[in-house]
Amino acid sequence: MSIAATAPRYRSIVLSRSAIYGLLLALLALAWLTSMTLGYRLYTPGQVWAALFANDGTEAATVIAGLRLPRALIAPLAGAALGMAGTMVQTLSRNRIASPDTLGLNAGASLAVVVATIIFGVQSLVGLSLAAAFGALATAIVVFGVAAGAGGLSPLKIVLVGVTFASLAHAAVEILLTSNEAQLQQLLFWLSGAFVDRPISLFFNGLPVVLVGAAIGFALASSLDAAQADDSTAAGLGVPLAAVRGAAFVAVSLLTGAAVSMAGPVAFVGLVVPHVARRLVGLQHRHQLTAAALTGAIYTTLADVAARFVIYPVEAPVGAITAVVGAIALLVLLRRRLA
């Protein structure tokens, strides 16, 4: 009797979750098609198809394959990476307003890229990607080290230290840039946080890094589930907390670093996306991470489309759009928390 009563209920949950994944995939496909067709010039899906699979050398085909396609690949990959990174950061810090931004990871990655270029003369894309990932990881270590040293990893303290570090990193970036005008143009392009005018090779550099970060995240899924409880409970369940935190920070740094190396610092994606993901699929990380990857990809792809139109015919930096959305979301979250 009890089995009969619970079985359909269980199935309906499984179905609704796969329905959600189906819906998200459909939305992502739609967002991608929008990104390929809408812009300064409008193309039909037929032209997109022709440009991708039968490059006929027309001007349309050149624009679609050379300009539209890179951003339509980089935007969702960066969004997926930041969504997953944000999910893990929020779990690890037990703080729903934490994100790669509020922990200073984006700023740290930016600083590392600027230092690598100006001081060490790194020019290759692979080198810059590595620098970004290293910068994010180093920042994670510094921020958590300082917060822990200041007496316990309280969620608020982590964010305070992270925001402070982010301001410092931004200041350092500005100083380095103003005193090295030769590199200013080249780096400013990158530091603006955008998907436009990125070479497609950035996507192929970022993809394996994102895949490794995601693989670590999914391997840690059940440990992250248990780490949502307090430390004593998690340890009582047998979670090796230090190892799990260390591995998760490597994953977060890879994901954030890859996103920053592809698109520059795109603000607040990692803050907003995990909230949507949890609402959709609940608190198990297997699902949270999947939904965050999909939601993040949709979000950045659509934000990139919006960036083409807010000050049409000029392109707005996509980071400005995600910053506005993110700031509103942060205010709502803070209000709800304080209420």
Partner: protein
């Protein structure tokens, strides 16, 4: 005593220190299998530290803890998690986690890294929720539960862990009288029906005397005395351990010793 042959846990010469302060001092304690052992003592006596040491949350400075004659430091963290469960004092989880998601956390030590959820996991979760009466609220967010419901959900989580030994650190703190009784009756039933070895830290000495098979008085980082509550609930001993005068009577309902603390003059 037949218990002597069946100690589930044996604490031997355990010394614990935090930054030079000795909290437990060469402490010895056998914990009988299938019984309820209650650790009691004044604030700061080391009873919580002892409980947490038994679950290996802190490394001892010296001494050892044997679980079924095996040193617990030899066990992996998940292996130990399959044998000793711990509900800490005031546990916490995200308020938007639902009851079923919380109870599922208890299955953590039974899962290998990439191995998916198994029918045994489902069964253990259902059984734990049924045993604690939280089935009907499985979809509710834990932030919406009352104190008593929340504590039952947490106990369900420890139960889903399916360990022989369950440690609970002050599980009835912050609960009103009725829910204190519900919670301890639930623990007593787990002990009776499923033969679980229970180690409890309790602040209320009368509840301790009522539910303990084996009462342990901890004072100044040592075991002052341990055994049947009938033997421990003496005015002189309570005065010494708890630093208060006490009058001992027999609880007219349960026939257990009861203490009425008072201050002279």
């Amino acid at each position: 005593m037949d218990d002597l042959a069946a100690n589930r846990i044996e604490v031997k010469g355990l010394t614990m220190a935090y930054g030079g302060d000795v909290v437990l001092d060469a402490l010895n304690l056998p914990i009988p299998a299938g019984r309820i052992t209650v650790l009691a003592g004044p604030n700061g006596c080391g009873k919580s530290t002892l409980l947490r040491a038994i679950r290996r949350l802190h490394a001892p400075q010296s001494g050892q803890i044997l679980l079924d004659t095996e040193d617990i430091t030899r066990l992996g963290s998940k292996a130990l998690g399959r044998r000793i469960g711990l509900l800490p004092q005031s546990p916490s989880a995200p308020l938007d986690m639902n009851v079923e998601e919380l109870v599922r956390l208890g299955r953590y030590p039974h899962q290998a890294m990439l191995q998916p959820w198994s029918p045994q996991d489902d069964e253990a979760v259902s059984r734990a929720m049924a045993g604690t009466g939280v089935e009907a609220m499985r979809r509710r967010r834990i932030g919406s539960l009352s104190g008593g419901q929340l504590q039952r959900a947490w106990i369900a989580m420890v139960l889903a862990q399916d360990t022989d030994v369950i440690c609970l650190d002050e599980p009835v703190n912050h609960l009103d009288m009725a829910h204190q009784l519900d919670c301890l009756e639930l623990v007593a039933r787990l002990n009776r029906d499923e033969g679980k070895t229970i180690v409890l830290v309790l602040h209320d000495l009368n509840l301790a005397a009522r539910y303990a098979d084996n009462l342990v008085f901890v004072a100044n980082g040592r075991i002052r005395e341990a055994g049947n509550p009938e033997l421990l609930m003496r005015a002189d001993l309570i005065a010494e351990v708890f630093n208060t005068d006490a009058h001992i009577i027999t609880d007219p309902i349960h026939g257990r010793p009861m203490c009425i603390p008072f201050r002279k003059g």
